[in-house]
């Protein structure tokens, strides 16, 4: 027999699955064929590797697993399958492990109760009560101090005035405009602010700022100084826009001496015809 034929028989020969006759044929071939003989020798040499024996605690691990496995509870079987480390199955730890799992189940059911509608109502009521309690405590802890608040308010007003005054001195027209609008916010006009606004109305280089100052001052018509200041400003104005605005303001206030002022103003040489016309209209309205 050649090697090919022997190769067909060899696997069965190795597992001692050949009849005596065929087995002896293989043996005879191997006496002459080193290659096939080496295959057989290799197979036999594998006997040098003995069967490996599992450790003695393997059975205990199995018992713990069997104990934990309950056909009724699929949850438990999942838990067992996710903990394949050998410590989890060691006999010493097996019992606490089981109690731990039941504890977990108890905790789980508590959370399940919290999720139920009744639970939700209960804990929202508890939260509400807690919130009310905290709210009342905080209110008690910090009673209002009217004096302090008034002082703070005064301080804030001062601060705002300071800022407004400093802004009226700015180079930029837009910042001066902002300053004017800031200073006009107060219900009561501070004398310092008032004089600053009147100065702005007279001497500011920008028409817009002057108009804004007039607008801010117009809200404080009750103050005679403001009325007088506006009347004086009319004589010194060069811009027809501001002149018209001032004439309108005087006409609106219906001041007793406004008519005289307007007549004097009308006599000013080189007056813009439109302004002159406006002054005439105002005089007629005042009479």
């Amino acid at each position: 027999m050649n090697c090919e034929q022997i190769a067909e028989l060899l696997p069965d020969y190795l597992q001692s699955g050949l009849a005596r006759e065929q087995a002896s044929q293989v043996e005879q071939h191997c006496e002459h064929c080193a290659n096939c003989a080496q295959d057989v020798a290799m197979w036999k040499k594998l006997a040098l590797l003995p069967p490996d024996q599992p450790s003695p605690d393997s059975r205990a691990r199995f018992d713990a697993m069997l104990h934990a496995y309950s056909p009724a509870s699929s949850e438990r079987s999942i838990e067992v399958s996710t903990g394949p480390s050998r410590q989890a199955f060691s006999p010493k730890i097996a019992t606490p492990n089981v109690s731990d799992s039941s504890e977990r189940v108890a905790r789980w059911s508590f959370f399940a109760w919290l999720r139920s509608p009744l639970g939700a109502v209960a804990w929202s009521a508890a939260l509400l009560i807690f919130g009310i309690f905290i709210g009342t405590r905080v209110k008690e802890a910090s009673p209002a101090h009217p004096d302090e608040i008034a002082a703070m308010h005064a301080e804030l007003t001062n601060m705002r005035q300071l800022v407004a005054l400093s802004m009226l001195q700015q180079q930029s027209a837009s910042e001066r405009l902002q300053g004017v609008s800031w200073s006009g916010r107060e219900a009561h006009l501070d004398p310092q602010i008032q004089s600053a606004l009147l100065r702005t109305l007279r001497y500011d280089g920008s028409v817009d700022v002057r108009l804004a100052a007039l607008d801010a001052l117009s809200r404080h018509a009750s103050q005679p100084q403001v009325r007088k200041g506006i009347g004086d400003a009319l004589q010194e104005q060069q811009s027809p826009l501001v002149q018209v605005a001032l004439i309108d303001q005087l006409a609106e206030w219906r001041d007793p001496d406004a008519t005289q002022r307007l007549r004097n103003f009308q006599q000013t040489p080189n007056l813009n015809p439109a302004v002159r016309q406006r002054a005439e209209w105002a005089i007629s309205k005042l009479q």
Partner: protein, 200 residues
């Protein structure tokens, strides 16, 4: 197994006692790792419990069990691969041999076995150590009995080649050792980097 299937899960203990050693041996030879092997044995019996309803009466339990064992191993490889450099508790070569030469050969044999491709190592272990008949292996792998025989023979031939290469290759650490010292090796015979590259 039929009793287990019908709900008497306690009787699985009998099957465990009978099959845990061969199963452990299979995994130990495949992985060279005791811890992994023991975990896998537990996993197999857990799966037997869980999938006991899929066992069909009249079929060979051993083949069915090895089927589960192979699947467990595949899943384990998939899970472990990312951190494979860390192997815990490598298997020390235990052997029946008493002479120093035989111990050395056993260590070499173990290394050679690990150098075999996984499928060849598996078929060799199943036929040689697990003593599964070729028709059982054919059932397990889903192929013809003839194909199994050819594959076993080829695996054996490749193992022989690897073994001879390891044996004849330069082994500087071993050759410098005294015979008495090499008689108690604690790890598989070391191979030089060039050898490993050639084997791959």
């Amino acid at each position: 197994m039929l009793q287990v299937r019908n709900g008497e899960v306690e009787t699985l203990g009998v099957l465990f006692d009978r099959y845990q050693a061969p199963l452990f041996n299979f995994y130990a030879k495949m992985t060279q790792d005791r811890t992994v092997s023991e975990d896998l044995v537990q996993e197999v019996f857990l799966r037997i419990l869980r999938y006991r309803q899929t066992y069909r009466p009249g079929t060979n339990f051993r083949t069915w069990m090895y089927q589960i064992a192979r699947n467990s191993r595949i899943d384990q490889v998939r899970k472990v691969r990312p951190e494979s450099p860390f192997t815990s508790e490598p298997l020390a070569p235990t052997t029946f041999a008493d002479s120093a030469q035989q111990i050395q050969e056993a260590a070499l044999l173990q290394t050679a076995l690990m150098h075999l491709p996984e499928d060849k190592r598996e078929i060799l272990i199943l036929s040689r150590f697990q003593e599964l008949k070729y028709d059982e292996i054919a059932l397990l792998l889903g192929c013809e009995v003839g194909a199994v025989k050819v594959r076993v023979h080829r695996a054996l031939q490749q193992l022989r080649e690897i073994f001879l290469q390891l044996e004849s290759g330069p082994r500087p650490i071993d050759s410098r050792r005294a015979p008495a010292d090499s008689a108690t090796p604690t790890s598989p015979a070391p191979t030089s980097p060039t050898q490993t590259r050639r084997l791959q």
